[in-house]
Symmetry: C2
Subunit: 350 residues, 2 copies
């Protein structure tokens, strides 16, 4: 059984994910296991996964059979478990909450070899529609304060699963870094009656030196205080707090921007491992009585995607201080990415 | 030239360490370079390093020659540079500060093969005395708000430098995670007139299940909300805010505890890579006029060492949410470490 635990010194929550309950010997083998020869994510192997929650089946094929383009399934080894009621209590100076949540896998393609950057605009749009559909569905469950969608490409355990997929984890708390962003946006709005991220977009467009692409609908730039080399921020230019409120047309435009950004990173950095995360406004439920949740009404937030190739590794200085060390100036990173010859790597076009 | 940059959305500082100014091609070669055959940290190779800042020379040998047991030198490729005046200014919505700091390497032994866990108590005490001496010296420089001492053993770039060493980075800001801990301690003290960490120690000693060792002077326990599997907290039982105020006798007792903790981790986890960090109260300078620094007078802090084997890797979920995921319950980790047969690995005794 998983649980969340709060540390009064660090004022932070850890997820103890005890489904696997890893003991010392599980850590002994530090050499990487080879990729499994059998892939349950491939088309035709649907019976080897839990039953699907969502699928895009253009030909109308039956659930859990081939014919899908995008397929969402529960994770067999979830970080948090879906069953049970929230229980939240003190243990002396500490706090704990039982580990209620959802953990889903979004299989982005039936084909084992196609990576996100290889997809057609249409295929990638379907992936983004799956994100939207799962966000809209899970926000009906008032146990979940936040629904977090992310992707690891050859990062962590995802290095053993080559088949292109994203993940969704619904959590019973607003994640600490999202809470910080929500606070920053709320404070800025209270002071200035403007959205902080809209203001950042205006400043970036004026200064220009960190912009990678700008098609009028979506802006891609290297953040001023980038934590990682070649980190990118992808954000709608127009103020939108909620990713799930994007229209099909807007998702198609986003797919175009995202694909191009992935191709730029692949060209400039020679296909590095990367992570991608979606930050969108949290859902709000009328049955949550806590006044601070009402004060956190998220209309002054502005959704965005953060994309970071994983080129450096966290060390003791970073986890002990909270500073990130980045060896590449974002202005220089933006310049390399802006000038990338992305046609060199485009495999599919549309 | 390095600089620190502040992000108004994430309310956090990044260190842009541009001394090396890494460009895309520097990241292409992701296979690890083999350890260099020549080691400038070894006894006899002193002329290949910058001039020493500190050394323990029991026989009174001259500086920058053999005969030392512990030797401190400036890092040739510092994260922050020592020259210049602090300059701190806004750039529109952003903030920047030039990257003034110090970056030193504490070479813990003249011998290439001896690791920290192998040292005699006397040798390890000398390492801790070097920490203390450098903290006391650098706090005279009022440009530095914090002096951070840490060690990476086979983590990050330290994986290429096998010769046992620690690092010191002095920074012109209180690091974010240290600031959080200082705030937690101050708030607890204001409310209860007691030290938060003293209270945590009392609770851990009462609950017992997370304690690894307790010799009356230093307590070693697995934190309730451990962020990493087998993470340990090492803290003096008596209230002490400042590591640098420890006596020789106390440092010797700490060396005994630290060595034993390292040996426990080595036995149970088969010599894993690890990081170690020292959290001590920041220096206070009368010439700093800012009232919040005075409110942060650090006497209600309680210094400690955090020790974490590096067994898991940060992925998109963790860097995007701020949650840590830990697959091992700290109660179970403490049990394995407590029962470790440390005599099995002790190579040197004293």
């Amino acid at each position: 059984m998983s649980e969340l635990r709060w540390d009064p010194l660090k004022d932070n929550w850890t997820i103890l994910s005890l489904g696997q309950g890893r003991r010392p010997q599980d850590f002994w083998q530090q050499h990487e296991a080879p990729p499994a020869s059998f892939c349950p994510f491939c088309s035709g192997n649907e019976s080897h996964t839990p039953a699907e929650i969502y699928a895009h089946r253009p030909g109308g094929s039956p659930p859990n059979h081939p014919g899908w383009q995008v397929r969402v399934i529960p994770n067999k080894v979830p970080v948090l478990g879906i069953e049970g009621e929230l229980d939240n209590r003190a243990e002396g100076l500490y706090d704990r909450m039982n580990g209620i949540g959802a953990h889903e896998l979004i299989i982005e393609t039936p084909d084992h070899e196609t990576q996100l950057a290889d997809m057609t605009i249409e295929q990638m749009t379907e992936v983004l529609k799956a994100y939207r559909a799962r966000l809209l569905d899970l926000r009906n469950d008032s146990r979940f304060r936040y629904i977090f969608i992310f992707k690891n490409c050859r990062v962590g355990t995802a290095s053993r699963i080559r088949h292109s997929h994203s993940q969704l984890i619904a959590v019973p708390l607003i994640p600490p870094l999202v809470a910080t962003e929500l606070n920053s946006c709320r404070e800025h709005f209270q002071r200035k009656e403007r959205c902080l991220i809209c203001d950042l977009i205006k400043q970036e467009r004026k200064q220009k030196e960190r912009i990678v692409s700008d098609d009028g609908a979506f802006l891609v730039y290297a953040p001023y205080a980038s934590r990682f080399p070649f980190e990118l921020m992808i954000t709608p230019v127009e103020h939108k707090h909620d990713f799930a409120a994007q229209t099909d047309q807007q998702l198609k435009q986003l797919a175009r921007t995202l694909r191009q950004s992935l191709q730029r990173i692949r060209t400039v950095l020679r296909d590095p491992p990367y992570s991608l995360i979606l930050h969108s406004a949290p859902p709000v439920h009328s049955r949550w009585g806590r006044p601070d949740y009402w004060a956190m009404l998220p209309f002054n937030y502005h959704w965005h995607i953060e994309l970071a190739p994983k080129l450096t590794r966290m060390t003791g200085f970073e986890w002990g201080s909270g500073f990130h060390i980045n060896p590449t100036a974002p202005e220089e990173a933006a310049d390399f990415l802006r000038r990338a010859d992305i046609n060199a790597t485009v495999k599919h076009d549309s």
